[in-house]
């Protein structure tokens, strides 16, 4: 039979020689290997104190963006929900009332916007699909939690805080 790779090695089934039988040379060799590992660089990063550098295109937790006047960009067009392969995004649209122009950028806005983070696969398709530059994936890591409900992120959780309000505080 033809070999699939040339990497296979025939197992040596000869009876052990005296040198092998007393085990000590092999044990000494093994101990020297583990000894050398004591002085090697540790692979661990102690996470909260020490962070591994992320790639610039890292896709973490989502945010809903605001425009330069602090108005919500999302118009609840539903393209993100459509693009989502994991069907993690749901939303409900609402019409902007007169006098709410400082809150919402266009006539239609998302009254409800939820992302189920247990379904989300962080592919970033929502970000790509969004025509209004509203949804973005940040470098923030997804925090762990105890209940399933807490993983359904509401609009309040996703929306970045308003600049003006923050400035006042």
């Amino acid at each position: 039979m033809e070999k699939l790779t040339n990497r296979s090695v025939q197992i040596n089934r000869d009876p052990m020689t005296l040198g092998e039988k007393i085990y000590i040379p092999a044990i000494a060799k093994g101990l020297s290997i583990t000894l050398s590992h004591i002085f090697k660089k540790k692979a661990t990063t102690s996470y909260p104190e020490e962070k591994r550098p992320f790639s610039p295109v890292y896709r973490g937790l989502h945010i809903l963006n605001r425009d330069e006047d602090g108005r919500e960009r999302c118009t609840a067009c539903g393209l993100c929900a459509l693009a989502c392969p994991a069907e993690a995004i749901t939303m409900e649209a609402a019409e902007r009332k007169p006098g709410e122009e400082h809150l919402y950028r266009e006539e239609k806005y998302a009254a409800k916007y939820e992302i189920n983070m247990l379904r989300c696969i962080f592919c970033g398709y929502c970000e790509e699909a969004c025509p209004k530059d509203a949804v973005y994936l940040t470098e923030t890591l997804m925090p762990s939690n105890y209940t399933r409900e807490s993983f359904i992120y509401k609009k309040e959780d996703l929306l970045i805080p308003e600049h003006k309000k923050q400035d006042h505080k």
Binding site: K21, Y23, G30, L31, L35, H37, K40, K41, K42, T44
Partner: protein, 357 residues
């Protein structure tokens, strides 16, 4: 003052000594668990426990609290009495051996009162150690058997046969040593290893009995059920081995007794082969410092040797793979026992030859 024919001062002195030794060995066993995890970590390029306290030093306490808090499950089909006996026996035998180890030289107070740092100077110290070590296997045996679990039973049978096989080689390797010492008392054996160099050769028995030491060390590994001979706890085929059905602090006792055993056997190895509390130039040090300080230095010397041996035990555990059962038996019966017998023969010839010339 006398009570039942025993001097009360003597009684108090011994009680204090026993408490210190017991606390010491429990403390060292506690931190052995921490050290084991650290050693494993650094050898695998990790950093190990680092969260609980400085360098993870409170980790053993956290583990202890966890074990105490856990739900205690006694299987319905188990033999309840023996099930509870198992870990108790393991713990008891682990703590008993420390009685005959001389932890330091006698301290003579200014008034001429002699305080011995050995709980009991019995003249058959080594025999006592062997007796207790043989008892130790009952903890594993009873625990595994009483669990009424096939894997536990298999594991306890393994443990028993392993212990019996390796005790033989261990005993024979010690006979060679005993031919040189001419005494079974550990105190006497340590006294013979006084200093480091007697003008002709090293006084420590390691240098007179290197092969005997090697056999004894391998057998100690096997007796402790530690890797590479940890077949009783073989996680790959017997799940957890004899303590599979145990939970809460009963499991903790089993795990803990292994570490106490490791500490005590390191102490015995240090006493028999590495000169006990003796260290080089001890006579010069003794002349220069206060007797109490000298005693403390001696105790520290013994402790250093023990810690080095414990680290070696851990080092080997995280290096070598586990032996297969047939390999274990081959090594014990076909390898170590003949070797120990040959060592005995060589020693006998050497002694005769030295005494003739």
């Amino acid at each position: 003052m006398l009570l039942l024919g025993i001097d009360i001062a003597f009684l108090i002195e011994k009680v204090i000594l026993i408490s210190v030794i017991l606390m010491g060995s429990l403390g060292i066993a506690m931190y052995s668990t921490w050290a084991e995890r650290k050693v494993a970590a650094v050898m695998q390029d990790r950093i190990g426990p680092a969260r609980a306290g400085w360098f993870g030093l409170l980790q053993p306490l956290a583990d202890g609290i966890k074990l105490f808090m856990k739900e205690e499950i006694i299987p319905d089909r188990s033999t309840r009495f023996l099930f509870i006996m198992g870990p108790c026996l393991a713990m008891l035998t682990a703590c008993m051996t420390s009685a005959v180890v001389p932890w330091g030289p006698d301290y003579v107070t200014a008034s001429g009162h002699v305080i011995s740092l050995q709980v009991a100077d019995i003249n058959i110290g080594i025999l006592f150690v062997f007796g207790v070590v043989s008892l130790g296997v009952y903890g594993v045996m009873l625990g595994g058997w009483a669990s009424n679990n096939k894997f536990s039973l298999l594991s306890s049978i393994r443990a028993a046969s392993q212990a019996i096989s390796y005790e033989l080689a261990m005993g024979i390797s010690l006979i060679a040593l005993l031919m040189m010492t001419g005494s079974l008392s550990l105190r006497e054996i340590v006294a013979q290893q006084h200093g480091f160099w007697d003008g002709h050769w090293f006084t420590w028995y390691f240098f007179k009995q290197p092969l005997g030491f090697l056999i004894f060390l391998v057998c100690a590994f096997a007796e402790l059920n530690r890797a590479p001979f940890d077949l009783p706890e073989c996680d790959s085929e017997l799940n957890m081995g004899y303590h599979q059905e145990y939970s809460s602090m009963k499991l903790g006792f089993y795990l803990f007794s292994e570490y106490i055993n490791m500490f005590i056997s390191s102490a015995i190895i240090a006493t028999l082969f590495w000169g006990g509390y003796n260290f080089p130039f001890m006579d010069k040090v003794a002349a220069g410092v206060h007797p109490l300080l000298f005693t403390l230095i001696c105790v520290m010397a013994l402790m250093t040797k023990i810690v080095c041996l414990i680290l070696f035990f851990m080092f080997v555990r995280w290096t070598l793979p586990r032996f297969r059962y047939d390999q274990l038996m081959n090594l014990g019966w076909k390898g170590l026992i003949p070797l120990a017998l040959i060592n005995m023969l060589i020693t006998a010839i050497a002694i005769l030859w030295i005494f003739k010339s």
